[in-house]
Subunit: 247 residues, 2 copies
Amino acid sequence: MATRTAKNKNRTALRRRPGRPRGEAHSEAIRAALLKAARQLFAQRDFKAAPVREIAAAARVNPAMIHYHFGDKDGLYRAMLQETMGPVLQKVQELMNHSSGRPAGSIHDALEAVMTMLAREPWVARLIVREVLAEEGPFRELFIREFAARGGGRVPQLLEREMAQGRVRKDLDPVLGALSFISMALFPFIALPVAEKLFGVRLTDAFTRRLVEHSTRLFYEGVGSNVSHNTARRNPVAAAGRGRRTT
Amino acid sequence: MATRTAKNKNRTALRRRPGRPRGEAHSEAIRAALLKAARQLFAQRDFKAAPVREIAAAARVNPAMIHYHFGDKDGLYRAMLQETMGPVLQKVQELMNHSSGRPAGSIHDALEAVMTMLAREPWVARLIVREVLAEEGPFRELFIREFAARGGGRVPQLLEREMAQGRVRKDLDPVLGALSFISMALFPFIALPVAEKLFGVRLTDAFTRRLVEHSTRLFYEGVGSNVSHNTARRNPVAAAGRGRRTT
DNA sequence: CTTGTAATTAAACAAATGTTTAATTAAGGC
DNA sequence: GCCTTAATTAAACATTTGTTTAATTACAAG
């Protein structure tokens, strides 16, 4: 495949010549375009499998601009992580901190915050897979320290608060509980491409809502039938009990 | 770092010369060594980040042997997948099929089968991350068809069986339930490197057992306290209720 | 108007990587 | 004992990749 399209009628004048462009604020635009292209490519491909030439092509700039703006490929990657993951995680933290206060509010709100975020920004889950789960490289540690600790690291305390307030049974191991909680919150989005092919699910707003309700109820009550285990009927969390196969 | 150790006193005679080696059955050994080295490296690094030279070095053979035995790097990868994932998944399938039959037996047994396997063969989780979750390449589809479908694809039916036998509540959505189940079964192992740094857990046999019990109980009963929701006390699954912070 | 600096490009460079080749040695049948 | 084939190596090859360089243009200050 040729790099340039057919419309480019081989006049040399069309080819952009070197030199500073006219007008101002070009530099910032290029920086932003590079960050955007990097985010998209790094969410889709591994760090080593995303060549700088391709990132630059997606941003419609010269590869050398990466080194002009970010020093090297690592610098671009680091800047991309900061500028994209930062705001997202901050928002999740906010939402998790002041929960609504109603019964099971914290858990429900935390699940809703995390899940709606993962549903709205599909690249986050992909980035977590590559960055935190797959790659053994030097970035994993930075990522855990900077991001994962602020997110999942606080779940045991959240559970202990719930236990102190009597909404969670006292013999729960908060760490195991946190592990299960994080599993239920993250994995469906991490494994979404598989779930689509395997179960035919599609990531719509409705699906996300159903998943939030389902997971909240499962986390509190489990799936056991109220016959063999006399599990909660008429509970404050999952009030939608009219249809069948809802949660 | 030099390729050869200091002990190698630059005599040329020590360097292995080309030509067929004496004795027989060398070829098979080399093939096996390459498969083993490939499995270890591909579990740790991305496909593109695992150079053939390094795989060959780990197997102590010449890089050209990869092409002699497997055609190319893809061929080695494919052969490795078949020869390593095949037996493991077959075993899990067996264990999942004839469950013990006692109350909640299926769920408990399935969790135990999957989790002990993942704990004993740490490379499986890493391979799943790269192969099924991370990589968008041509291998993902093959992997889903060949392996994931035989494993996770059957969970909804398992849940429906449980529902028919009255051990699981009737209004559960089997697909959502399967998603949560698979999440709880796989994610702790997939995210193990993170969980270690975040929560200080270590993957011992004892931990795996605790996780199996915890997850089974959580899946059936949830974590809700029997005060606010009157959740099952005295249930058949999690009978170990003497200490505190156990499940 | 000159001069220095910022922004941008094409091209060159060096290292790494998948693959191929030619040479070399051993085995096995005739 | 010769000759074909199997197994193995070192070295060469071609491509891709991250990075650097030198040239080129615009702008801003003096």
